[in-house]
């Protein structure tokens, strides 16, 4: 049911009136980018045809396995655009949290702790979240061995719910989905004016990018409904997400603490399972009574900075555009909407170049 017919080639006249857009990748980045483009331009460009190509759809994408906590890395690289996109995403989601859609989206509020063994500067996102503050002395007693920490209320956005919700919104707009692995941009160029590249860790396969590295994560999902806060422990020398963390979800609790740069192994490793389990039980002793449901491994598409840029392909029979949107590391859900809007901005500029009378509605 996911196969769709490609529209037959149009005449030159028709081509001026419409846009054919292909989005490669159906994780949170691909789907939200498609949604942002169609929402902003569907009344401006008629027809605006979007087809999403992916080898994996929900629930088999990287986004589906992630815990879904909105939280950028704690040690900022200070990239201003990314700080802005993170904040935009939080504000966008916060508007939905009291809406009737929240449940279906997998969206809810959750508070919790980031704990450290040494002091560090407040993060760039302290004003984006709700009620950010430092931990009191009494609270630090909850975490022996840790001397500093933060508490704030953030959002949870669970991929397993959010992605199907996005697909429903896209279907309402007539977006098509095709389960197919795309091996090159050129494969799509005859039929599409713009290709949006949201392929995450697989972007290498379409275009070599030495900056894109997997950061392997392995998590354990357990049933522990008495845990109502996230707890993320940090060690500045070890690096982000290399220390135990516990993130409750709507049904199960994610226990993690693995961040292995350069490791492409997508199989669960029993050694990592033990590291994660022991680390989690040390943080929260009652976890010992939790029922283990499953293990999962995913590859965070890590890059020095997210690649959002336009690339024009002039070689070949037809000129086509590629907009890249990949490299979101372990903060894809956190930053997705800001990036989607940025891609929509680029798309808007492409439209204006094609036909100046098109005005994008922001």
């Amino acid at each position: 049911e996911r196969r769709a017919k490609i529209a037959p080639r149009q005449t030159l006249d028709d081509r001026h009136k419409k846009m054919q857009v292909a989005v490669i990748g159906a994780g949170v980045i691909g789907l939200s980018t498609a949604q942002c483009i169609i929402e902003r331009f569907h009344s401006v460009v008629k027809p605006l045809n979007i087809v999403v190509y992916a080898d994996q759809f929900t629930p088999h994408t990287t986004s589906d396995g992630a815990a879904g906590l909105w939280q950028p890395y704690v040690l900022d690289r200070g990239i201003p655009e990314e700080v802005k996109w993170n904040k935009e995403t939080f504000e966008y989601l916060l508007k939905y949290v009291n809406s009737p859609d929240a449940n279906e989206m997998g969206l809810f509020l959750q508070s919790g702790y980031n704990i450290f063994k040494e002091p560090l500067l407040d993060p760039s996102w302290k004003d984006a979240v709700l009620g950010f503050r430092h931990l009191t002395e009494e609270e630090l007693k909850l975490f022996p061995g840790f001397s500093h920490g933060w508490f704030n209320t953030a959002l949870m956005l669970e991929g397993k719910s959010y992605l199907p919700w996005l697909m429903e919104r896209l279907k309402e707009h007539g977006v098509w989905f095709v389960q197919k692995k795309i091996h090159s941009f050129q494969e799509l160029s005859p039929d599409f004016d713009v290709v949006v590249n949201c392929t995450g860790i697989r972007a290498q396969e379409l275009q070599p990018d030495p900056e894109l590295i997997p950061a392997r994560g392995q998590i354990i999902k357990v049933y522990a409904p008495w845990i109502k806060h996230f707890i993320i422990s940090h060690d500045q020398r070890a690096g982000i997400y290399s220390k135990p963390y516990i993130i409750p979800g709507s049904k199960l609790v994610t226990v993690g603490g693995i961040f292995q740069l350069g490791n492409w192994n997508e199989e669960n490793d029993p050694k990592d399972h033990n590291i994660v389990w022991e680390g989690g039980c040390k943080l929260v002793p009652s976890l010992k009574n939790a029922k283990i449901v499953e293990d999962w491994t995913g590859l965070r598409p890590t890059r020095n900075r997210i690649r959002i840029e336009r690339q024009i392909f002039n070689t070949g029979p037809k000129k086509f555009e590629v907009i890249h949107n990949y490299g979101h590391g372990g903060y894809g859900l956190t930053i997705h909407w800001g990036c989607a809007m940025e891609v929509a901005n680029i798309f808007g500029r492409i439209l204006q170049e094609k036909k100046p009378s098109w005005r994008s509605r922001l």
């Binding site: 509020l109 949870m156 008495w226 009652s286």
Partner: protein, 387 residues
């Protein structure tokens, strides 16, 4: 050498008990010190029999405190209802004091601090989930700022502070609020654990209805009255009255915070097995059956606070009668009658703050029982000794 208290003067005396009498089972013994010969009556060296009436959170915790701190006692809990049929089982179990100011604040603070410390150590342990204990953060919101902007218990919970504007924005009716982290104790798990702990300490449980304290005369030396709303009929105390509370337990595991409206009429408490939605506060209302118009009002009010509740799966509803008393009755009484007397320790009138105060009042009640035990053990029946 034995130290005894002179019953009439209250003075403490060191006595050498006559070795010839050391094997004899008393009621009386003879001892000697420099002041002469004292005739003392000591009660039978058999254990002091204590009956605790009531098997809710107050009764069971009091029984445990007595059994564990006074090895001289054998404790039997006598109750009509046991978990899961007590008032405590209906409660959400949040540790959050909202009590009449007629009870001195220092006492309330002590009871809350003792209970918080006790539940806190359980929360940090491996057994937390089995015992029904969890941490919970959330928001207490007000239409208008309360008379006391900072409650007396602000230091007792974790990280108490005022809500800021961005936090208040989510609750359009609220102009003021508190946010803090506290504990929640689900009695449907906690009470069975207390029962087990009591048995481990040598205590016993017995089903039975007590209509008058004298029923127990001759079988028990000390009675501890933890009968909650039942105290009204049992003691004739008109100061304790029911405030009816109806609740709805729903399945909404994505909810991670409590929400309480300042006057206590609406609240959402996510627990371990379910989320408790409430409530009602109907004074002098003894109805134990679920009222459908209350159900509707509760659900509507809670959905207004948390719209995602519309999608919650309803589990079941319940009613509890909060045993409200302006002054929590925690005191000793000596009942005279039939040529004899009985010692009575009252521990009731916790209102909607039973779980919140239970361990603190249990400890204090156990101390009162200890005082009774000491008094009984040192009772003389011979003429006054020469000084």
């Amino acid at each position: 050498m034995k130290h005894v208290k002179h019953v009439q003067t209250g003075a403490s005396h060191a006595l050498e008990l006559d070795p010839a009498l050391s094997n004899i089972s008393l009621p009386d013994a003879v001892g000697r010190n420099e002041r002469g010969i004292f005739h003392l009556v000591l009660c039978t060296m058999d254990k002091m029999r204590v009956a605790v009436i009531g098997a809710g959170v107050v009764g069971l915790s009091t029984a445990v405190c007595i059994a564990e701190s006074i090895p001289d006692c054998s404790v039997t809990v006598i109750a009509e209802k046991f978990s899961p049929y007590t008032t405590s089982d209906v409660a959400a179990g949040i540790l959050s004091p909202h009590f009449s100011r007629e009870t001195p604040i220092e006492r309330q603070k002590r009871w809350f601090d003792d209970t918080f410390a006790h539940i806190f150590s359980i929360a940090q342990s491996e057994e937390a989930s089995e015992i029904g204990v969890q941490f919970l953060s959330g928001w207490e919101i007000f239409k208008e700022a309360p008379i006391e902007p900072i409650p007396y218990w602000s230091d007792s919970v974790l990280a108490f502070r005022m809500m800021n504007n961005s936090e208040l924005k989510r609750f359009p009716q609220a102009t003021f609020g508190w946010t803090y982290t506290t504990l929640l104790c689900e009695c449907t798990s906690y009470l069975p654990w207390l029962e087990k702990r009591l048995k481990n300490a040598g205590g016993q449980l017995q089903t039975g209805k007590i209509t008058g304290f004298w029923e127990l005369h001759g079988k028990y030396e000390i009675i501890v009255n933890c009968s909650g709303i039942g105290a009204r009929a049992l003691t004739g105390d008109m100061n304790v009255y029911p405030v009816r509370g109806q609740i709805h337990k729903v399945h909404a595991p994505w909810l991670k915070h409590f929400v309480r409206v300042g006057d206590g009429t609406s609240y959402i408490y996510p627990g371990i097995s379910s989320v408790t939605l409430g409530g009602t506060r109907q004074k002098d209302d003894w109805r134990m059956s679920v009222d459908p118009s209350d159900s509707e009002a509760i659900f509507k009010a809670c959905c207004a606070l948390e719209p995602s509740l519309q999608r919650a799966r309803k589990l079941f509803e319940g009613v509890g009668l909060r045993p409200v008393r302006a002054v929590l009755r925690l005191e000793k009484e000596k009942l005279e009658g039939e040529g004899s007397h009985m010692y009575l320790v009252h521990n009731y009138g916790h209102g909607g703050t039973g779980v919140t105060f239970h361990w603190g009042t249990a400890k204090e009640a156990a101390q009162l029982v200890q005082e009774c035990v000491t008094e009984i053990r040192c009772r003389p029946v011979r003429p006054k000794p020469k000084l």
